[in-house]
Amino acid sequence: MSDRSPVIAARRVTKLYGAVPAVRDLTLEVERGEILGLLGPNGSGKTTFLRMVTGYLSPSTGTLTVAGHDTVGEPMAARRHIGYVPESVPLYPHMRVREFLAFMARLRGVARSEVGRAVASVSERLAVADVLATPIRALSRGYRQRVAIAQALVHDPQIVILDEPTNGLDPRQIIETRRLLQSLAGERTVLISSHILSEVEKVAQRVAILLRGELLAVRSVADTPDLEALFLSLT
């Protein structure tokens, strides 16, 4: 894969639940090092699209490639490039933070000899080093969110996918999460979904607006002075 080719490429992707389309004929490319925000009201197909990119769901029609690998034909190769934080922030409450991060690192292919260094590095970056020995069940919502993001970064992936990353966080935690995402720009490709326009606007370089499973527009944030007006006019 050349440096100029898109890291994520969806071509005419449709996902049907029975006869009901959750995503319809969606074509979208995400460039290397870019932060792209998926924006849309609840039920617009953001989570379904993200789940197809991660390989959790298969497209009913169309093709999706991640780092040049088809998510259906070469799922393992595609998944190796992805770090994913689902909306519900799933964690194993009985595990300690260090144990959980080490487990996720090993699961995602980090060599045993490298696990300690990877966990130390990501826990330092996400400011969870002081709770490494704490059971996850004892953590606050903010710490849980940081641990969830840490597990997505522990194997140093090329692509980071976050579904509604600021849901349920207090204002301070939202600012911290936003700064973290901004710090990832350039070094990693980031795909985030949100139904809060102001959040996406502050973090993303481009936004893709979805409604009822259809991609309505893709705009550069810098070139769209009134994103709010555009969003209202489209939705």
Binding site: M76, R79, Y84, P90, P93, M104
Partner: protein, 233 residues
């Protein structure tokens, strides 16, 4: 360590630190210890045939409680999404959970080896039915755990998973009774589907490949279906 090894380590830790595992182990060993002592003192016969049938009943009742969490809990807490988006095969995830549950049952059966040791110490038991009985219990455990995992993969409600497993186990147990009501060739099919029918021959000390094949084939088939259920998204 392969992905399977990493997953197995996590599952073994989760299984052997779970209060459910200790409750199941305690119930199994208490009931079996009580039954063994009672049987030995009343009959004064050095064989375990009755004990093996007791273990069979207890496994049918306890395995649904052991396996109900396997996937239902991961589905309920959404951690299944983490596993299924990691670069590991669905088969590895299923196999790790299967082996961890089987390890707990193997530990329980290993603890029950005290009974043949006592018989060997004080009497002269016929060892063939004892070897056969333990082999049958291991094979039975494989089948029960694989069916329990399949039902757990179909729902996020643990009680539903346990009830469905128990229902399937009882249907398989009494399949030979249904054979009397069936016309040919369905009667033979039902007879061969019987969980207890294949178990009893082992406990008598007879080893037939067809009996071992029944447990192994159904176990592998059920594990395969579980993998497909999880992969079909």
């Amino acid at each position: 360590m392969s992905a399977l090894g990493v997953l197995l380590k996590k599952e073994l830790h989760a299984t052997f630190t779970s209060p459910i595992a200790y409750a199941i182990g305690a119930v199994f060993l208490l009931v079996m210890g009580y039954t063994f002592s009672l049987t030995l003192f009343f009959t004064k016969v050095a064989n375990l045939t009755y004990i093996f049938h007791q273990m069979y009943v207890l496994l049918v009742l306890l395995v649904p409680v052991l396996t109900m969490r396997a996937f239902a809990e991961e589905r309920r807490t959404d951690t299944l999404e983490l596993l299924l988006t990691a670069p590991v095969s669905t088969a590895s995830i299923v196999l790790a959970k299967f082996l961890a549950s089987l390890a707990l049952l193997a530990a329980m059966l290993a603890a029950s080896l005290a009974y043949p040791v006592v018989l060997g110490f004080y009497g002269h038991p016929d060892w063939a039915p004892i070897y056969g009985g333990y082999l049958a219990l291991v094979l039975l455990s494989c089948l029960l755990v694989s069916v329990g995992m399949l039902t757990s993969s179909l729902t996020e409600n643990q009680v539903v998973a346990a009830a469905a497993s128990l229902g399937i186990f009882l249907m398989l147990w009494f399949a030979d009774s249904a054979a009397y009501l069936m016309p040919e060739p369905l009667d033979v099919f039902c007879l061969n589907l019987s969980l207890i029918g294949h178990f009893t021959t082992f406990v008598r000390g007879s080893l037939f490949l067809s009996d071992a094949g029944y447990y192994l084939t159904l176990s592998i088939l059920t594990l395969f279906v579980t993998t497909r259920v999880l992969a079909d998204r």
